[in-house]
């Protein structure tokens, strides 16, 4: 996926690189079925989701996994950005023994210390299912050591509900916490899956805006139940596909808003406030034209005229600046015909082979590459405005544009 000219900080992408170690509890207490299907499986699902979210929010994030019980603390995979490797190591884990929280955290700290990219922030996520045998004092000392070395800690307190356990874990997180970087989440047994509960917590959404896009989408999807999934795709089952679809829709919407905004500026009209429009990307869109590279600016100019027509045709209210930062996309899609069209198109496209789609769109997006191909075709002048428009349209998934271009393409035959 190519996302040009977007302000990543407000989008899905985290500008903070993180190295995360996840400490899994595979003790005997994980056989219990009070979380469906059993505690261990619920934990594994949550871990998969977290790994996916972290690796996708920033390609330079790395995640590692270790188990705390069994014969002893064992590092399954050191921090890596390869999601496949991480998910693969989750298979074939054996349940047994007792969770060793202190040793697990210390080994995690050591694994993080030897991360390859020292610029990454260090974070440990602990799944505490079994009972905690360490004293509160010992845990606080461990917490202080983590804080001293600038390591953040997230704790998921689930499974066994002993008297002191929650208190001890709270004390641990309080000792580590500096500036709200560390969190603890208590998940009581129930019908909600562990991963669903975690999605809306700071563990997923991260310290700042970072994963909030992903989390918000997944939360909206999960909350809506089976029928409410944004694109008919379960983010839990196929997070990459869901992400790709959402991204193309965001791209589409942002581009239209940017073009419309430009149109409004050009026409020197006052901005019309439109509360029905989704405005997730509002601030980015304002920043995007100034941040965008030169070629993206040219793109906007070329598209502008076409988009004017498209917008006039399909939208009731011209989308300019909007007051709300509502991130509920299904509502926006319902309001806006054009977006719904783009949505469907994305779904169709998404149904194709994901990787080849990505490669193709990467290639097509590389304007210089496309120009060079066109230059080598006889009779085609890349500076011809209609060719430029064609190029512009290949960068987007807008149907109205494609219609216009199909009209122009026959004229191209020479």
């Amino acid at each position: 996926m190519v996302l040009e000219g977007f302000d990543f900080t407000d989008f899905l992408f985290d500008l903070i690189y993180q190295a995360t170690m996840i400490c899994i509890d595979n003790s005997e207490w994980m056989r219990n079925g009070d979380y469906s299907p059993n505690r261990f499986q619920a934990q594994a699902d949550a871990v998969n989701l977290i790994c996916g979210a972290k690796t996708q929010s920033n390609p330079e994030n790395t995640v590692g996994v270790l188990t705390m019980a069994g014969k002893g603390v064992r590092v399954l995979v050191t921090p890596t950005s390869d999601l496949g490797k991480i998910l693969a190591c989750m298979h074939g884990l054996e349940i047994g023994g007792e969770m060793n929280l202190a040793a697990g955290i210390q080994v995690a700290q050591l694994a993080l210390k030897h991360r390859q990219n020292k610029k990454q922030q260090q974070r440990i996520i602990v799944f505490g299912g079994g009972p905690v045998k360490y004293d509160k004092k010992v845990l606080e000392m461990i917490g202080r050591k983590l804080k001293k070395n600038n390591v953040a800690l997230d704790v998921v307190d689930f499974g066994e509900e002993e008297d002191a356990k929650s208190e001890k874990l709270e004390a641990l997180v309080a000792a580590v916490n500096s500036n709200d970087s560390s969190h603890i989440v208590h998940v009581p047994p129930g019908s909600n899956a562990l991963s669903d509960v975690l999605i809306s917590t700071p563990i997923f959404t991260g310290d700042g805006e970072g994963g909030s896009g992903f989390a918000a989408a997944a939360a909206a999807a999960a909350a809506g139940g089976v029928s409410g999934f944004d694109f008919g795709v379960d983010p839990n089952l196929d997070p990459e596909l869901a992400l790709a679809l959402r991204v193309s829709m965001e791209e589409e919407r942002a581009r239209q808003e940017a073009a419309a905004k430009k149109a409004a500026e050009d026409a020197s009209k006052g901005g019309e406030q439109s509360t029905s429009q989704d405005a997730t990307m509002t601030e980015n869109v304002a920043a995007a034209p100034s941040d965008a590279e030169n070629k993206t600016n040219d793109l906007m100019d070329d598209e502008n005229a076409l988009l004017q027509q498209a917008l006039a045709m399909s939208m009731d209210d011209p989308a300019t600046t909007a007051a709300t930062r509502d991130t509920d996309m299904s509502e926006a899609a319902a309001d806006d015909q054009d977006l719904a069209l783009a949505l469907q198109l994305s779904v169709q496209d998404g149904a194709k082979d994901q990787s080849s789609q990505t490669d193709m769109s990467n290639l097509l997006a590389d304007q210089s590459f496309v120009s060079s191909i066109l230059a080598s075709l006889p009779g085609v002048d890349p500076n011809d405005p209609s060719v430029k428009d064609l190029l512009a349209s290949m960068q987007s998934q807008s149907e109205p544009e494609q219609k216009n271009n199909e009209d122009k393409a026959p004229k191209e035959d020479k």
Binding site: K147, K148, N149, N150, S372, A375
Partner: protein, 204 residues
């Protein structure tokens, strides 16, 4: 080694000597064990403001006097001297150990590694003490890590000012970040901006 300023600083512009703070890349300055994250940036300022702690100071966590300060420069520098202004009531650091051009040093590393130089510090509340470096070892410094293991008995360690004296070269020490490896050169990958209308670059 320390030396006293035995002249009045009004006519001699000491501040120009201590101007290496201008070459510090503040976004890459960090500290370990600081009580308020980000407070370390306030200790790098002009010499005449060294006693002015209105913007905050660097303080370690309660009950733990150790501090590590990581300073990254915008270009390689040569460091001649270092000046530290600490806090009162035993919160001044008593020892300083320096490491150069090492990334990501944490407390266990700092305690086990041999520093490039270490000093015993005195309480220097007026900021007139300067600690000289073995200049030959501080020639091409891209980043500097200072480790303060102990203080004069206070509960925390406070640092109000860190001054660096020396020269800046214009060289940068960064590792090459953007390397493209080609098996077979493809001219269309090497177009210059002027020719991005679709022509090939001139190969000479």
């Amino acid at each position: 080694m320390a030396c006293m300023h035995d002249h009045s600083c009004e006519d001699h512009d000491c501040s120009s000597d201590w101007s290496l703070y201008k070459h510090i890349d503040l976004s890459k300055v960090s500290a370990l064990n600081e009580a308020v994250p980000g407070s370390v940036k306030s200790v790098f300022k002009a010499w005449e403001h060294r006693l002015n702690s209105s913007e905050g100071q660097l303080e370690s966590n309660e009950g733990d006097p150790e501090l590590i300060v990581f300073i990254s420069f915008t270009s390689d520098v040569k460091i001649k001297g270092i000046s530290i202004v600490g806090g009162a009531d035993g919160t001044s650091p008593s020892k300083m150990r320096a490491f150069i051009n090492r990334d990501g040093i944490d407390f266990s590393d700092a305690q086990s590694m041999q520093p490039i130089q270490e000093w015993d510090l005195a309480e220097n509340l007026q900021g007139v003490l300067e600690y000289q470096t073995r200049y030959s070892r501080f020639q091409g410094v891209g980043n500097l890590t200072l480790h303060f293991p102990e203080n004069f008995g206070g509960d925390t360690t406070q640092i109000h000012y860190i001054g660096l004296k020396g020269e800046a070269t214009q060289l940068k020490r960064d590792a090459v970040a953007n390397i493209v490896y080609e098996l077979i050169p493809n001219p269309s990958d090497h177009k210059t901006r002027a020719e991005s209308g679709g022509e090939f670059a001139n190969l000479e």
